[in-house]
């Protein structure tokens, strides 16, 4: 269903952090790609490396202490990681833009929202101050901020949380980017506002044939908007599939556990199932499969080596030695 051009292709990305107690691997051999018009969800709990991977490839990760060990991130064939900062700035912020979780701290508190949006036009398009402000007002209108023309000169603290996230979106979409990386864009918002923002992203995406990378820990968000999903656990990709299929027949036990712990009307009155245990500290990732200590179907062989990401069916990959095919999945259950 998404056959657009591959815009951003991440391959074997590995990121480490230097800490006083030695290096810690936050992202290990992660690969994914996003096409024009596609929404790719990167799903994982905090500490699974989902944000670090996108921050590393856009160059906004603090380095040091962060360090990219290996891997490529190609935007239309040009490797973002290998290029110079100056070259990267022409792409990140213009063709690839980002939206962050907490819109209050992600906006500069002492600049008006108009100035902050206009800055994109000034820096990347060399527009005059007046033209840029005019375009900023148009952008605010496009993200459905009421009375946008009157609000360009307002400051971030004068907006509500949902409206501020719209401002962030306006800023990210100002230059008609090819790829939007939304890092938990709705986590700080309440559920109704969350739905509005997701809907807005989907609408704006359809208008521009943009690729969206949606980083989230919320399965509900994934099932609502994502075409494809990449599930991450302890810095590794453990499953990669089309959203509908992953939700219908999860292959990796972790994905299965996540789905099982979703509240639904079938479970009304019963205790919500959870995945036993807690995610591992990145300092002490278990040998072999990182999910092994919490996995209901783990065997001794799981401790031997990190399970490779294998194709279990056309367009579906999972990293589990117990489930190397869809049918194996059925047997194990």
């Amino acid at each position: 269903m998404t056959t657009g051009e591959v815009l951003l292709k991440v391959d074997d990305l590995t990121v480490e952090f230097d800490t006083p107690r030695g290096p810690v691997r936050a992202v290990d051999g992660v690969s994914w790609q996003v096409r024009a018009g596609e929404t790719l969800a990167i799903l994982g709990e905090s500490g699974s490396g989902k944000s670090v991977s996108t921050q590393a490839l856009t160059g906004i990760l603090e380095m040091p202490p962060g360090r990219i060990l290996k891997g490529t991130a190609e935007y239309r064939g040009a490797d973002l990681i290998a290029m110079t900062t100056k070259e990267r700035r022409k792409i990140v912020g213009d063709r690839i833009t980002m939206v962050f979780q907490d819109s209050l701290s992600a906006l500069n508190p002492v600049q008006s929202v108009g100035t902050q949006i206009a800055e994109c036009y000034r820096v990347h398009r060399g527009m005059s101050k007046r033209d840029a402000m005019k375009r900023a007002a148009e952008m605010l209108d496009q993200v459905r901020i009421p009375a946008a023309a009157n609000r360009v000169r307002d400051y971030p603290h004068e907006f509500s949380g949902g409206m501020r996230q719209r401002v962030m979106l306006a800023m990210a979409l100002a230059l008609d980017p090819d790829v939007l990386i939304a890092d938990e864009p709705t986590t700080a918002l309440d559920v109704t506002v969350q739905a509005q923002i997701l809907e807005l992203i989907a609408e704006l995406q359809a208008e521009r044939e943009m690729g969206v990378v949606l980083i989230t820990h919320d399965l509900g968000v994934v099932s609502d908007v994502a075409d494809n999903v990449v599930v991450m656990y302890a810095g590794h990709v453990v499953e990669r599939a089309a959203t509908a299929e992953a939700l219908e027949h999860p292959v990796h036990p972790y994905t299965e556990g996540l789905l099982g712990s979703m509240p639904s009307s079938d479970l009304k009155g019963q205790e919500l199932p959870t995945i036993p245990g807690t995610p591992p500290s990145l300092r002490a990732i278990p040998s072999g499969c990182a999910f092994r200590p919490r996995c209901p179907i783990a065997i001794d062989d799981c401790a031997r080596e990190i399970p490779p990401l294998l194709t279990v069916a056309p367009g579906r990959d999972a990293a589990c030695i117990r489930r190397t095919t869809i049918s194996a999945n059925k047997e194990a259950v």
């Binding site: 912020g93 980002m98 500069n108 600049q111 820096v123 800023m171």
Partner: protein, 308 residues
Amino acid sequence: MIRFILRRVLAAIPIGLVVTLGVYALVFAMPGDPLRELAGDKPIPAAVLAAKRAQFHLDDPFIVQYLLSMKDILTGHFGTTFAGADIADQLRLRIPVTLKLATMSLVFQWIAGLLFGLYAGFRRNGVVDRMLLLATLVVLAVPGLVLYFTGQYVFGVELKWLPVSGARDGWPMSYLLPALCIGISGFAGLARLTRTSIVDTVNSDFVKTARAKGLGEQRILWRHVLPNALLPVVTLMGIDFAGIFGGAVLAESIFNLPGLGQFMFQAIKLKEGGVVVLLSTLAFLMFIVINLIVDIVYGAIDPRVRNV
């Protein structure tokens, strides 16, 4: 804006009354007789003593003395000191001395504080940053008095680079050493605050946003980091500025500079309530005005505190 200023000025009136009354009460409560203090060991004829007591209303109740002093201050009739000097003349002579000292020490303090703070903030954990931490700890641990006397001994007595005390060498020579001492004891706090503020701001989310927008480092620094990082610094600079008179009392006395601080010191020693209250009122007015300026500046640089 005018309403804001008016409101602040009106609010200052009751505070001013409490401050002056408190200061006057403290001077009144000090032990000893002011006129005997003035005369030293020499006997004073009873008639002279009585005349002086009447002139300065020393036998009136506390509150009457206070009100009479306030009346003099408000009507501009400052009168004379116990020793007979015209207070208005004294002010005219002494205010420039204190202003010169205050300006010079503030310049030292602010330049050193901002430079070291900014540098340490951007080169966190570098050599300058570590040296600054050490230097601040030392400066904060050493009392001002020790610093002043050490300065006098090293640069005045031993090296003979600068005059030990007095204003005979005029500006700037006579002021360099005291201003340097005040600057050293004051720059540490400013530098630490600037450094911490820079570090916090550099790591904040909106700087990350600015990077994600593909902005150059210079633009991020001038448009996003500094305007936010300097907000708390401006507040502290205002407090420093307003508190400089307090520092002047000690420094002018030790370095024997004939400024308002030294005047204050002598007046306290002689229990001259009227003079102490007059000088306190001056300091208080300066405090109010400086605070007002800081608030106005703050409103201009931080939209979040406008219309408050």
